[in-house]
């Protein structure tokens, strides 16, 4: 594996932020996606949705300003932006499942060349595992972006022909943003749209488990 700098988690988040259209209603999942709110381009206005019933979620609460009835999906105290609203969890997921969100950004363990996503359970992990809102969000978003490292810690590709981890949803991913590339999932295959600085197509293909167009 070439020993060259890759994008940091923060840089992956900043790159993914550029995929958000102005005025979009957006859900951010756990992990790298959760960092995106801190890296929005200044000329962009988006409205964040939280699965526990918030539209118009703002930045994280600062010390002294926390209200524990106002938390995000990770239990972190947050703030509101002007024009925010509350609703119950069924309506929150009516928004995710019903195609009302413009963009959802989730983390991933594996994405297949067909856009299948595995992001909720590691095979053989101890304990019960947990699904949370991932399956509803993956099934329903108009555009689903997955942010993740391009390879596992052991260097194995996370973009694969077929997922071997338990699936979250079939054929749901539209865009993959990694520490090496931006890739569009197209009916004809995976389109390598952008490469991280200093990396070339051949190197990225070697670290990808499915052919890149």
């Amino acid at each position: 594996m070439p020993d060259k700098p890759r994008l940091t988690r923060e840089e992956i988040a900043a790159r993914a932020a550029k995929e958000l259209p102005d005025g979009a209603y957006v859900n951010l999942g756990w992990g790298i996606p959760n960092l995106i709110a801190d890296y929005l381009p200044l000329d962009l206005t988006v409205f964040f949705h939280s699965e526990n019933g918030i539209l118009g979620m703002g930045r994280r609460a600062r010390a002294g300003e926390e209200d524990y009835d106002l938390v995000d999906a990770m239990k972190v105290p947050v703030t509101l932006t002007p024009g925010a609203s509350f609703f119950h969890q069924a309506d929150a997921h009516l928004m995710t499942r019903g195609g009302h969100l413009d963009v959802a950004v989730l983390g991933g363990f594996q994405v297949s060349e067909k856009g299948d996503l595995a992001n909720w359970k590691v095979p053989g992990a101890r304990g019960s595992g947990g699904i949370g809102g991932a399956m509803d969000i993956a099934a329903g978003a108009k555009v689903l972006i997955v942010c993740m490292e391009h390879t596992t810690k052991d260097g194995a590709p996370k973009i694969v022909k077929q997922c071997t981890y338990p699936l979250t949803a079939l054929a749901c991913v539209d865009i993959i943003v990694t520490d090496l590339a931006v890739i569009d999932v197209r009916p004809e295959g995976l389109l390598l749209r952008e490469m991280a600085p200093g990396w070339n197509r051949k190197e990225i293909q070697e670290l990808t488990g499915a052919p890149l167009l």
């Binding site: 699965e51 209200d67 009835d69 509350f86 119950h88 969890q89 997921h93 019960s128 509803d136």
Partner: protein, 225 residues
């Protein structure tokens, strides 16, 4: 007219029998009926089927139920990183678990509330969630049949109740509470404050009184993440 206000938490849960199916509201530390859960711990009801988004925060929230061995089966979407008492019982096979996608958990409860006997959804198709469920194609989309989730009781938390049981919620502490209130046969709510009838503007009522059967006032308890 039947009085809905109970003057003690213990009295509000006194008839909850062994084997009851109970929904518990709350998400992310907000909106949990912790006073009612503690009353149920004192009562010692066993073999509970618990329906909730998660399985507690150490011995807080539903954690107490697992610590005490009061739960036999759980229907949940995300047991959670701090649900150690649940995980111990689950590993020992003392508790069984049905994992449900969070929005489908909501919708199955809402189906129960609404007299809907089942619905088809694309959520979970091709995943572990689909195992054993009827699958068909509607409008070219693969989908699976989901069934309602009923309960004998809902334990919920609201901010205010009027004396009839009309409820309001605070910020994102609303979460699962209004859905569970509608879905269960008997809904028991703990509230910060009970106000006279008319003190909540009709247009501000979130859960209408028809869904609420028992009201008890108790200062909310919160457990740190």
């Amino acid at each position: 007219m039947k009085q809905k206000i109970f003057f003690s938490l213990d009295a509000a849960v006194a008839d909850v029998p062994d084997g009851a199916r109970i929904m518990f509201g709350g998400f992310g530390g907000a909106g949990f009926p912790n006073n009612l859960i503690q009353a149920l711990a004192r009562k010692g009801t066993k073999n509970i089927t618990a329906i909730s988004n998660n399985c507690g925060t150490r011995d807080g929230e539903l954690g107490l139920m697992f610590k005490n061995g009061q739960v036999r089966h759980v229907i949940a979407s995300f047991p959670g990183p701090h649900a150690n008492y649940f995980q111990e019982r689950f590993a020992a096979k003392e508790v069984t678990l049905e994992l449900v996608p969070q929005g489908i958990l909501c919708e199955r409860m809402r189906a129960a509330a609404a007299g809907i006997l089942g619905f088809y959804t694309t959520v979970g198709v091709g995943t572990e969630v689909a195992e054993g469920k009827e699958e068909r194609v509607i409008d070219t989309q693969r989908c699976i049949l989901e069934s309602p989730i009923h309960a004998d009781y809902a334990f919920i938390k609201a901010e205010k109740a009027d004396e009839l049981g009309n409820l309001t919620y605070r910020l994102a502490a609303r979460n699962f509470n209004p859905i569970m209130a509608m879905a269960a046969k008997t809904t028991i709510v703990e509230v910060e404050e009970i106000v006279p009838v008319g003190a909540i503007e009709p247009e501000n009522v979130i859960t209408p009184a028809i869904f609420v059967h028992r009201i008890v006032q108790a200062k909310g308890i919160r457990y740190a993440g």
